[in-house]
């Protein structure tokens, strides 16, 4: 059931019948969902279900893909990664991808400002005070939580208002997961539209408006936050927990 506000919100991203391949291996089998402006949507599912591949296909990292991905009306299939990024999509990968040859500050300031409205360097360091004190350290010398903060912080610099976050809570201590959750909620409150890939259901439940359940490269269900709360049994059957 959708609320009136959800119905009125503009669709920013529309994925239709998306299939994707790694070499000859077909990983996604016709995925469809859409994302509305200001919404926080999670992709949930078992390991290997195709959640990360969905994000990588949207971003153009997975090159062999068919179907349709439209962002603000523009078709993304056939576009190069940098062209997709310049449309205002920020991507934070699962492995965080901190550059070992760069310092924390260089990692943070590496992405160029693509659109107005991005956070300035000083604003980012104020929002992530740990990074200020470690600015000259090698990027990969940070703790897992700090690396995750850095990975999210640097894409906020670009001015992208649409974020793809791949398992930001993975492998982190509960207290850090809580901090990341608060950060994501703050971003949502500032009007960012977010797709979050997450296996941590408790974490996903806390932050998301809707949940897209992915299984074997297909969307098998789409649940509102309220439905997730009321029908946990159904969700757990999808996740096999």
């Amino acid at each position: 059931m959708t609320t009136e506000a959800e119905t009125l919100a503009r669709t920013v991203l529309s994925v239709e019948n998306l299939s994707a391949w790694y070499a000859e291996s077909k990983v996604l089998h016709g995925i469809s969902f859409d994302v509305r402006e200001g919404e926080l949507l999670t992709l949930i599912g078992r390991n290997g279900a195709g959640k990360t591949t969905t994000l990588r296909s949207i971003m153009g990292i997975v090159k062999k893909r068919t179907g349709s991905i439209t962002f603000n009306g523009d078709q993304l299939i056939g576009r190069r990664i940098y062209e997709i990024a310049r449309k205002g999509i920020g991507y934070c990968p699962e492995e965080r991808a901190i550059f070992s040859s760069l310092s924390v500050k260089e990692n943070l300031t590496l992405p160029p400002v693509l659109q107005s409205g991005g956070m300035g360097d000083e604003e980012l360091l104020e929002a992530f005070p740990n990074l200020r004190s470690r600015a000259s350290s090698q990027g990969t010398k940070l703790s897992g939580g700090e690396q995750q903060m850095l990975a999210i912080a640097r894409i906020l610099r670009t001015g992208s208002r649409f974020l793809l976050l791949d398992e930001p809570s993975e492998g982190l201590a509960p207290v850090v997961v809580k901090e990341i959750g608060e950060l994501i909620l703050r971003l949502k409150a500032r009007g960012f539209t977010i797709i979050l890939v997450e296996q941590n259901l408790r974490f996903a439940k806390r932050v998301a408006d809707r949940h897209v359940v992915v299984e074997n490269g297909k969307v098998v269900d789409i649940l509102s936050a309220a439905q997730l709360d009321s029908d946990m049994e159904r969700v757990q059957s999808y996740l096999g927990v």
Binding site: M59, I61, R80, I81, Y82, A85, R86, G90, Y91, P93, A97, F99, S100, S101, L102, E106, T109, L110, P111, P112, L114, Q138, R154, I155, T158
Partner: protein
């Protein structure tokens, strides 16, 4: 044996070592930059060095353009040819095994060398020094042009190192060496960066060729003869390490020269002996990771 070694011989060989080291450093730096970003072992590097010298000779003899404008023109011309090669030959191979890139560049080297030999013959062509004369230091005669080559190459190596290690452009390059797809997700046109980087590496090779033209004979085989040493330099320094390539280039130039004093017969093999020892002690190269831990 050592009693017979005169200061003139030692300083003369040190100068030769520094000059050879300058060429080793500039060539291996270009090779390391290209390998770092593209993971292509650019076997055409020697041919591109030779083209730099030949373009300089052609500019003078056909168009009357002297050395100093050629110092800029020839590397730019060869770099543009390199960028065309990257777009037409290397890019279609980028998703295949790196061996294909190696073979393709080797093929280009053979074709370029063959065409130049066909046109200009095998014997070297002379190119007179743009800075004639020299200074007598008492213990040796130092030609001005050789001093210029050593100083210019040191400035070029330091400049290139500063560009890569201490500028935003260099940060993009270092990041793209590690994770090109992620750098592209920041909206950076990595394919264009690859083309420009290849052009820069090729331009460095051609610049070395311009510097070499008045010292060595401008000949089709000048590139292939130096390339084996350059590969040894890059391997010893650490594949893709800029600072490793430069430091090892100068070091091996001096080692080679000093060996000529002590045991001339070993001068041609000492570099490869050094390479074997370096690989046994540090298989990833003497300077691998040096840039990462700064």
């Amino acid at each position: 044996m050592f009693d017979a070694i005169s200061p003139q011989l030692i300083f003369g060989q040190l100068l030769i070592g520094l000059i050879n080291g300058s060429f080793y450093a500039m060539l291996s730096m270009g090779l390391a930059i290209i390998f770092g970003l593209m993971h292509v072992v650019n076997f055409a590097h020697g041919a591109q060095y030779m083209l730099g010298a030949f373009v300089t000779w052609v500019l003078l003899n056909y168009l009357g353009i002297p050395y100093w404008p050629s110092l800029v023109l020839a590397p730019v011309i060869v770099a543009v040819l390199g960028m065309v090669m990257e777009r037409t030959i290397l890019r279609p191979l980028q998703n295949l095994d790196h061996l294909y890139g190696l073979l393709a560049t080797y093929a280009v080297a053979l074709i370029v060398e063959g065409l130049i030999r066909q046109q200009y013959g095998s014997s070297g062509l002379p190119y007179s020094s743009p800075i004639p004369g020299g200074v007598n230091l008492g213990f040796m005669f130092l030609p001005y042009y050789r001093l210029w080559v050593v100083l210019f190459s040191i400035v070029t190596c330091i400049g290139s190192w500063l560009l890569i290690e201490h500028t935003k452009l260099g940060a993009y390059l270092r990041a793209a060496n590690e994770k090109p797809d992620i750098v592209e997700t920041f909206g950076i046109n990595v394919p264009r960066m690859v083309t420009l980087t290849y052009g820069f590496g090729v331009g460095l090779a051609a610049l070395s060729g311009v510097l070499a033209a008045p010292i060595y004979q401008v000949s089709p085989s000048m590139g292939s003869s130096i390339m084996i040493v350059i590969f040894a330099v890059v391997v010893i320094g650490g594949m893709g390490s800029i600072i490793g390539a430069v430091a090892t280039g100068y070091m091996l130039g001096l080692v080679e020269a000093l060996t000529k004093i002590v045991y001339p017969e070993a001068a041609n093999v000492v570099i490869f002996l050094f390479m074997i020892l370096a690989l046994l002690v540090r298989p990833n190269g003497l300077f691998s990771g040096a840039e990462k831990t700064r």
